[in-house]
Symmetry: C2
Subunit: 330 residues, 2 copies
DNA sequence: TTGTAGGCGTTATCAG
DNA sequence: CTGATAACGCCTACAA
């Protein structure tokens, strides 16, 4: 690959002139500029971004740290950040942390070494000690996807509380009073907020909260399956289930069918997330949609703002609106 | 962030010594090495990979070019390459080409500018002119995921022909003789090969090929839906359908149910790919699985081989074995 | 075993 | 408007 020197030699000018020409500096003769541009493209010259990065101290590169691209929630988010990044001339490093804090820490170090201009983090856990550790080496602009307790950080997420409330209020509006909450990881902020929204909705409608109707586990289908089996056995069987995510809802549906009950005739089910398959004709899950693509897009745009120094308010939380998608399970 | 100079100053040695110490050069005093390592870690020194890349002319970075991470086929592939890459100390740029050749070309240029050590390409089309154009600027090691007609290239893919044959032979073994082929894009190599495997299986079992049973379209669900509606109307209605991918199979299933027919009682369906939802209890699609994760892993490993110059045989095709997954639609 | 100095490909500063 | 030249942070002969 030819370098600036090669182009300069061929054009009979100094490196500096070539550099100026290629970067559209104002103080250059239009004639020579054209000549240089022509020659450089003839030679197939491509600027070496590594060298540029070294001197300009910016690499036009960001890191995207997520737990697992294989999890149906993340591809759309990733697509959102990538599209936005690409449009602004940035490239993105994909980093799967596999829900491991150590891995997250290792990647963070690599990203700093690679001199990324900023980082988007979909955290693996609620804990942030390891993140803090790395960031203290040299703080970079960062935005979090999901709520996180990290000082002076920007995070972008949907309003889980109101999302859950909307779901449960919808159920109530359909006449349900015995509504169960099939939760995920008890400690997860998202789970806590969704539970809160659930409780809010009940309270606001004068429906007492029944602890027998509230179960937690993890965010996987089997957990929803088991919890639902259990909740189906309580004294006054619920007539509706609000699951903290779509995988749990799927498990719930399975348990309900196994019990010989009909959806939504006997029991209604509402999920959360609206991951891809929820729309399949075979599933048709009623759920709360997160604007995943937009979350990614916005995450990048917010990050870019920080990178460019335009965003002085670093410590903020951007809340996106959830949307109820009514399908056939309710 | 501290640099080598800072560490050197604090340690009272030259830059060179620090560099040597940190890179475990043999010709260095063990004492001073320890001292330097200690100091550098105390200072939180992180090597600048950009600077290293400039002098070493390798960036420990690769590009992953795929059409769309949102397509259920790719996340697992991506995860496979990323895991393998990470294990070898490489980072990966995620590039969604959105099935566009121009976008593919643009990204290729960016990747060359960013001085990646190699590229893994999941092509957007069967055409390769634009790829050739960029590669001629400065050829990089590259491996293709999927069959492609590109000179001196390595590609890794599953054996579509035998995969299709296995699927159809399985159907035949269950007594089916009237088997339809619901295809995707007519020109796609994968579609051609799967059609070929379908024909092979029929021929080998003395079953005549009926052109009325063969329909193409694109790879999306709606296409499978429409094609199946059509094929259900032919004179001797098929008793089984082999779809060129799972999305088509899903569309087929929908059409069959709409017609009031039972699966697999009246008609069996077999898909291809085994994307995530095929295993859902509500779907339970019998299908041919592609080892997606392994494809990604292997793609990276093969690329690494080329990068290290160990792989002298560049022009080759690595064929992975497809696997029949029997579930409830057959 | 360690230090000195040149260079990787660019950009940017300072003279001319 | 253009040409030297010094960085950017690191590695690596070549000397010492």
């Amino acid at each position: 690959m030819p370098t600036i020197k090669d182009v300069a030699k061929k054009a009979g000018v100094s490196y500096a002139t070539v550099s100026r020409a290629l970067n559209n500096h104002p103080e250059i003769n239009e004639e020579t500029r054209k000549k240089i541009v022509k020659i450089s493209s003839e030679m197939g010259y491509q600027p070496n971004a590594i060298a540029q990065g070294l001197v300009k101290k910016e690499t036009k590169t960001i890191g995207l740290l997520i737990p697992d691209i294989t999890n149906p929630f993340f591809p759309e988010v990733a697509r959102g950040v990538e599209d936005a990044a690409n449009m602004e001339g940035y490239s993105v490093f994909l980093c799967n942390t596999n829900w491991s804090e150590e891995q997250e820490e290792r990647y963070l170090e690599v990203l700093m070494q690679k001199q990324v201009d900023g980082i988007i983090i979909g955290p693996s856990s609620e804990r942030t000690g390891h993140i803090k550790k790395v960031f203290h080496l040299g703080i970079k602009p960062a935005v979090f996807i999901s709520r996180i307790d990290y000082p002076n950080s920007t995070s972008i997420l949907i309003d889980n509380i109101s999302g859950a409330r909307i779901a449960v209020e919808y159920l109530i509006s359909k006449g349900h009073k015995k509504i169960a909450f099939i939760g995920g990881l008890k400690d997860a902020f998202s789970n806590q907020d969704r539970l809160l929204g659930y409780k809010n909705a009940l309270e606001m409608n004068g429906i007492p909260i029944n602890q027998d109707y509230i179960l937690n586990g993890d965010f996987k289908r089997e957990s929803g399956h088991q919890a639902t089996q259990k909740v189906l056995q309580v004294n006054l069987r619920p007539t509706a289930i609000f699951a903290a995510n779509d995988m749990l809802a799927l498990g719930a549906i399975q348990a309900i069918k196994e019990e010989g009950l009909v959806i939504p005739g006997d029991i209604s089910v509402v999920g959360f997330d609206d991951i891809g398959f929820a729309a399949l004709p075979e599933i048709q899950l009623t759920t709360i949609a997160q604007p995943k693509y937009d979350m990614g897009r916005l995450a990048f745009l917010t990050l870019l703002d920080q990178i460019k120094g335009g965003d002085s308010v670093i410590n903020k939380r951007i809340l996106l609106n959830p949307e109820l998608i009514i399908r056939k399970t309710s």
